[in-house]
C-alpha cells in the first residue's frame, strides 16, 4: 500500500451517449487498478467489454466519462511521448514507406537528431521486427502481420516510459509472434518499461505478464479479478508448460473466460466484491493436493490491493 504506484486508475467509467431512442450505455464503470513501475500487465476480457477504450483513455486519446488516470504523479490529460501506443488497427500512414513511418515517430521524439542518426535508429528496430529488406515498401504492399510489425517497431523506437499495446500480436503467425514476444521481453527487461497490453491469448499473457487483469463482460464491465502470474522468470515458451503452476493458472483464466465472466456480468457477483479492490488471486500457488484438475479453482489466496 505504501509503495508509490507508477500508474493509478480510479473510478474510471465510460458512458456512450444514447443512439436514437436508446438509453446512454455505460460500457464499463468503477474501474480501479494500479500498475507499478516496470510492471508488465495484461488485460483479458471478451470482445466489446471496453479494453480498447480503457487503453485509449490511458493513452490520453479518449477521455473517460468519470474517474482519473494518474501517471508518475500527474493526471493524464492528453497524449504524450511518454506513452507509446500500438494500435489495434496498425494505423500506419499509407503514403509513407516502412522506414519513413518509423522515422516520423523518431523525429517527433528527438527533433534535433541528424538524418544518419535517425536512419541507424530506425534500421535497428526494422531489423528487430524482422522487416529487413522491406524498408522502402509502402504499407499497402505489406501483409497484415507485416503492417502490425511496423506499428510495433514504431512504438518501440520512441522508447517510451510506458507501452500501451492493443492486441499487438493478433495478426501474426505463431513463429513471428514468438520471435517478437521474445524481443519484447528482452527490451522490457533491459529498459524497465511499464507495459499495459490487451490480449485474447491466454498463453501469451502467461508468458509475458506479471499480472493479468480479468474484465467481466460489458455493458457495465468491471475488473473482476487480478491474477498474479507467479510463474518464475525468465520464462521460456518451450518449457513453460512443464512448470506445475502453468495449468493451474491456465485453467483459472480459461474458466473465467468461459463461465465466470458471464456470471459476473449477469449480476451474480459475490457479495464481498469491492470494485475499488478487485480480488487478487494467485492460482499458481494453490496447493496441488487439494485441487481437482477440472474443477474451477476457488480463489486460493486473496488479499486487498
Amino acid at each position: 500500500m505504501v509503495e508509490q504506484k507508477f500508474l493509478t486508475v480510479e473510478a474510471l467509467s465510460k458512458v456512450f451517449p444514447a443512439i436514437r431512442g436508446g438509453k446512454p450505455l455505460a460500457v464499463f464503470e468503477d474501474i480501479h487498478f494500479a500498475i507499478a513501475k516496470g510492471e508488465f500487465v495484461c488485460i483479458i476480457g471478451h470482445s466489446g467489454c471496453g479494453k480498447s477504450t480503457i487503453l485509449n483513455v490511458l493513452a490520453g486519446l479518449d477521455s473517460a466519462s468519470s474517474g482519473v488516470v494518474i501517471m508518475d504523479g500527474r493526471e493524464v490529460a492528453g497524449p504524450s511521448l511518454d506513452r507509446g501506443v500500438i494500435f489495434q488497427g496498425h494505423a500506419l500512414m499509407p503514403w509513407l514507406s516502412v522506414e519513413k513511418n518509423i522515422a516520423f515517430a523518431v523525429k517527433s521524439r528527438w527533433p534535433d537528431w541528424g538524418r544518419d542518426k535517425i536512419r541507424t535508429h530506425v534500421q535497428k528496430y526494422i531489423d528487430m521486427v524482422g522487416l529487413t529488406g522491406a524498408e522502402h515498401k509502402k504499407p499497402s504492399e505489406l501483409s497484415g502481420g507485416m503492417k502490425q510489425r511496423v506499428g510495433i517497431a514504431r512504438a518501440f523506437a520512441i522508447e517510451p516510459k510506458m507501452l500501451l499495446m492493443d492486441e499487438p500480436f493478433g495478426a501474426l503467425d505463431a513463429l513471428t509472434r514468438g520471435v517478437i514476444q521474445d524481443e519484447l521481453l528482452k527490451i522490457w527487461s533491459a529498459t524497465g518499461q511499464t507495459v499495459f497490453m490487451i490480449t485474447h491469448d491466454v498463453d501469451e499473457a502467461m508468458l509475458l505478464s506479471d499480472k493479468i487483469m480479468l474484465m467481466s463482460n460489458g455493458p457495465h464491465a468491471r475488473i473482476a479479478e487480478i491474477v498474479e502470474n507467479t510463474l518464475p522468470r525468465p520464462r521460456d515458451r518451450h518449457n513453460i508448460h512443464k512448470d506445475a503452476q502453468y495449468y493451474r493458472i491456465r485453467n483459472h483464466l480459461v474458466d473465467f473466460l468461459v463461465t465466470r465472466s458471464k456470471q459476473i456480468a449477469s449480476g451474480e457477483a459475490e457479495a464481498e466484491y469491492d470494485p475499488k479492490h478487485p480480488p487478487v488471486v494467485r492460482p499458481g500457488l494453490a496447493d496441488d493436493a487439494s485441487e481437482a484438475s477440472n474443477k474451477p479453482p476457488v480463489r486460493p489466496m486473496m488479499h486487498a490491493v
Binding site: 493513452a59 490520453g60 494500435f87 494505423a91
Partner: protein
C-alpha cells in the same frame, strides 16, 4: 489475336476519326448540279468567294488543315491588336487562367483546411459557400469591371471566383475525412500543429485536394473563353469572337480545336499530379 486493350482502342479511335472526317468531307463537298446554281454563285460573289467552296458554307477539312499548318507554323507573330499568332492568344488566356487559379488555390486550400478541421467554421461558412457557389462566374463580370476598371484583371477575377469553390469544397472534404487513427498517431507523438498539418493532413487529403484543383482548372478553362469574348482585347476567347466577326469559320473551327487540345493537356497535367500524390490503403 490477343492484342492489348490499348492497341485495340487506338484502332477504334482512328476509325472513328476517319469516319468523322469523311462525313465532314462529304457534307462540305462543292455543289455540282446547276440547279439553283446562279443563286449560289450570286451568294458566293456576295460573300467574297468564301461560300463558293462548299454547298453549306462550312469550311472543308482541307481548309482547316491548311489553316492549322498556316497558323501553327508561325504561332507567335504580332501584327497589332487584331492580328496575333495563336500562340500569343493562347498564352494570354493561359496566363489569366494560371494567375486566377493560383490566387484561388492560395485562398481555397488554407480556408478549406480551416473549414475541414473546425466543425464550427464549417457550419459558419457553409451558408456563404452554398449561396456563392451556384452563381455563374460571368455574373460577377459587371461588378468586377466596375470596381477593378481593368478588363484583363476582371477576367482574372472571374477565373479566381470560378476556381475557388471546387478547391475549397474538396479541400474541406478531404481534410475532414482524414482518418482518425492517423491523427491519433500524430497526437501520441506530440506532433506540433504545423507539422501535423503539413506532414499528416496534407498528404492524407492531397488526392481529394487535387481532384478539386482538376475540376477547378477544367471550369476555369471553360470560363476564360466566355470571359474573353466579353472583355475583348486579347486571348483565345477574343480570337474566336473576332474571327466570327470576320466571318472566318475556318479560323473559328481551328480555335475550337485548339481550345479542346489545350484543355486536354491541362487535364492530363492534373491527372499526372494526382498520380504523384495518390496512395493506396
Amino acid at each position: 489475336m490477343m492484342k492489348s486493350i490499348g492497341l485495340r482502342a487506338a484502332i477504334v479511335s482512328v476509325v472513328i476519326l476517319g469516319v468523322l472526317l469523311l462525313v465532314w468531307y462529304g457534307a462540305t463537298l462543292p455543289k455540282e448540279t446547276a440547279q439553283g446554281g446562279n443563286v449560289s454563285a450570286e451568294y458566293a460573289a456576295l460573300m467574297g468567294g468564301a461560300a463558293a467552296k462548299s454547298k453549306s458554307g462550312l469550311p472543308t477539312p482541307m481548309d482547316v488543315a491548311n489553316t492549322f499548318w498556316d497558323k501553327l507554323s508561325k504561332p507567335f507573330y504580332d501584327n497589332g491588336p487584331n492580328d496575333k499568332g495563336i500562340g500569343i492568344q493562347l498564352a494570354y488566356s493561359l496566363a489569366r487562367v494560371m494567375i486566377g487559379f493560383l490566387f484561388a488555390a492560395l485562398v481555397a486550400v488554407p480556408l478549406g483546411f480551416l473549414v475541414g478541421m473546425s466543425p464550427v467554421m464549417h457550419r459558419a461558412l457553409n451558408p456563404f459557400i452554398q449561396v456563392l457557389k451556384p452563381i455563374s462566374p460571368l455574373a460577377w463580370m459587371p461588378l468586377a469591371l466596375y470596381t477593378i476598371k481593368d478588363s484583363s484583371i476582371s477576367a482574372v477575377f472571374v477565373i479566381f471566383i470560378c476556381s475557388l469553390w471546387p478547391m475549397l469544397i474538396n479541400t474541406a472534404h478531404g481534410v475532414a475525412a482524414v482518418k482518425r487513427e492517423w491523427l491519433n498517431v500524430a497526437r501520441t507523438l506530440e506532433v506540433n500543429p504545423l507539422r501535423k498539418a503539413l506532414q499528416v493532413i496534407l498528404p492524407a487529403a492531397a488526392p481529394t485536394i487535387l481532384t478539386g484543383m482538376r475540376i477547378s482548372m477544367g471550369i476555369a478553362w471553360l470560363v476564360i473563353v466566355a470571359a474573353e469574348m466579353l472583355v475583348g482585347g486579347t486571348g483565345i476567347g477574343y480570337f474566336v469572337w473576332n474571327e466570327w466577326n470576320n466571318l472566318s469559320l475556318t479560323n473559328v473551327i481551328f480555335a475550337i480545336l485548339m481550345i479542346g487540345l489545350v484543355g486536354m493537356a491541362l487535364d492530363l497535367i492534373f491527372g499526372w499530379l494526382s498520380k504523384l500524390v495518390a496512395y493506396q490503403e
